[in-house]
Amino acid sequence: MWRIRKFEEAVEDLFGRGMMHGTMHLSIGQEASPTGMCMAMTLQDQITSTHRGHGHCIAKGADLTRMIAELLGKKIGYCGGRGGSMHIADVETGNLGANGVVGGGLPIAAGAALASKMMNRGTVAVSFFGDGAMNEGAFHEAANMAAIWKLPMILFCENNGYGMSSSTAKAFAIDNLADRGKGYGIPGVNVDGNDVVAVYEVAQAAVDRAKAGEGPTLIIAETYRWKGHSRSDKNLYRTKEEIEEWRTKDPIPRFISRAIEAGLLNQEQCDAIQNDAIEAIKAAVNEAVKAESAEPSGLLDAVFKAVSA
């Protein structure tokens, strides 16, 4: 979680200095959800992610240098500078890619789960998405197909209360998003998305269910993003009090105090983990910044994979 937090803070800083093109969608405050879910997964299990996907990529094991390099438009970036923040994929850690289209990853994850089932691989596919995606047709179609075919898929919703500026109160006629699972005949599970241990437990149960061939689970993890939707967000749609209240539920100090109370870690160890994260991010940034910039030559050849003779 510290790695995700520090990574996002570093991105915020670099972007604020004008070193990154485009815009950034930061997940500060939401670290517990991807962490808890990915802890229940193996490297071969697959994920699809969203425009707010840095946390998912890191939790699944992505290389920090290559991530920063991609945001800086470098050749060694995950996409060679051609994809940017919203399209980072890492085949080796089972990451089928972040997606810039809301809901775009849901049918893809269903397809990955379908392939896993057809090939008897025993892996699961997790689609991370936000509350906003639950109203996209793609969510409905993917959830239904996963349900009827009992695909080994987990639909993991990070409900941060807002689809850009529309609150869930205004975008849904129901109060409990997990109820939608009933509509497809699959279990809908609520979890405190800022409690990494709780997320892990729910995630593991869903993974077990999927691998046992019992089909998909819809997980609604309640969380909150501290920063605006993107760097150009003026936060006109929510109050300071709301933001303040959620800051007190910061997942990282919560876990730290819980671990210390349970006698599993002491303060020094926790600080060391934080420092390690800081150093790792700093090293990644410094290395990425020195890397060669991506060049336009070769763009035409990059569209298609070459047909082998």
């Binding site: 760097r231 933001i243 800051r247």
Partner: protein
């Protein structure tokens, strides 16, 4: 351990380059918590509150309210206990990328070679299929002389290959040629001499004929007529037209220029006003559009002098003069040409 952290003007939209600092919410010495508002900034699209990235104390204020600050440049400095993820890569904050610096190309002294203006062969006012244009250009056929038989009066390949000229145009071309041939025949027997000079000057037809007329005006002893009429040869698809400009040195250059322009247009369409078809006392032939440098000017009947303008280079022209030795001797001829060249 205390960290000194500069809070900079953040980039808040894809196109933002500077922001205006509106006001501070804190003062030097204030304790702040992560998330507290430090100051407000404005760009043309967005007003934003900039928050403290961590708990700490305000050490100093760098910018002033109302200042326009570049993104990435500090607005205030705070001291924090927790290390803030901050990366300052130097003044311009550009990541150091290995950019190839292309050495400027060495300056090579090349002699200025200017191609002569292309001879006018293909007329873009005429419609022709692409291959016909290519064919006409290759064979030096003037498409204005090709009779179109294709739809919408478009010249087809057949037309170019057969080069069927419009019978009406052929007739006029023949008539014109006959007239000029007759005139030349008449003057062939006259004793004449020619001179040539180069001149580095720019001038248009109006300026030239006005200058020439003025020179002639200064030598009434060499004239065979009372008035001066300068005939200017203008080529068109109908052949050569020779409109005469009477006493061109006596109108304003602007009026003369307008007259030359309208007459040239008319001549290209085969319509020279009848009044301008007589009274020539001298003839001017501009060869530059044919890239020709000189041709011995031919005397026309009842004319004492004839002038050609030839092309030597982009900046130099060749002016040639032929005189009727019955009216003008060698010396006078040379003086006339000198005077003309001097006045250009």
């Amino acid at each position: 351990m205390s960290f000194k952290y500069p809070v900079v003007m953040p980039k808040m939209s894809m196109t933002m380059e500077t922001g205006e600092l509106i006001n501070f919410h804190v003062a030097v010495g204030d304790q702040v918590k992560s998330g507290d508002v430090l100051f407000e900034v404005m760009t043309d699209k967005i007003d934003m509150e900039v928050e403290a990235p961590a708990d700490g104390v305000i050490e100093s204020l760098v910018a002033n309210p109302g200042d326009v600050v570049e993104i990435g440049k500090p607005v205030l400095i705070m001291l924090t206990e927790t290390e803030v993820m901050a990366f300052d890569f130097g003044d311009d904050n550009e990541p150091v990328a290995s950019v190839e610096v292309v050495a400027p190309a060495p300056v090579v002294e090349t002699p200025v070679v200017v191609a002569p203006p292309a001879p006018i062969i293909v007329n873009t006012n005429v419609k022709a299929v692409p291959k016909a244009r290519v064919e006409a250009a290759n064979r030096g056929i003037d498409l204005r002389t090709v009779h179109p038989t294709g739809p919408d009066r478009t010249i087809t390949m057949q037309d170019v290959n057969g080069a069927q000229l419009d019978p009406a145009i052929i007739k006029r071309q023949e008539a014109n040629k006959a007239l000029i041939a007759k005139g030349i025949e008449m003057t062939r027997g006259i004793a004449q001499a020619s001179f040539t000079r180069s001149v580095s000057a720019n001038f248009d037809h109006a300026q030239f004929i006005a200058a020439w007329a003025k020179v002639l005006r200064g030598r009434p002893d060499l004239a065979a007529h009372e008035h001066i009429g300068v005939a200017l040869i203008i080529e068109s698809k109908y052949g050569s037209a020779l409109p005469v400009f009477r006493d061109p040195d006596q109108s304003s250059i602007a009026d003369l220029a307008a007259l030359v322009a309208s007459t040239t247009d008319a001549a290209k369409n085969g319509k020279v006003p009848v009044a301008m078809l007589s009274g020539a006392t001298t003839t001017v032939f501009d060869l530059t559009t044919y890239s020709m440098s000189s041709a011995t000017p031919l005397l026309f009947p009842n004319q004492v002098t004839s002038v050609t303008i030839g092309y030597e280079s982009a900046t130099t022209k060749i002016v040639s003069l032929t005189i009727d030795l019955n009216f003008c001797d060698f010396y006078d001829g040379a003086l006339l040409l000198d005077a003309l060249v001097a006045s250009l």
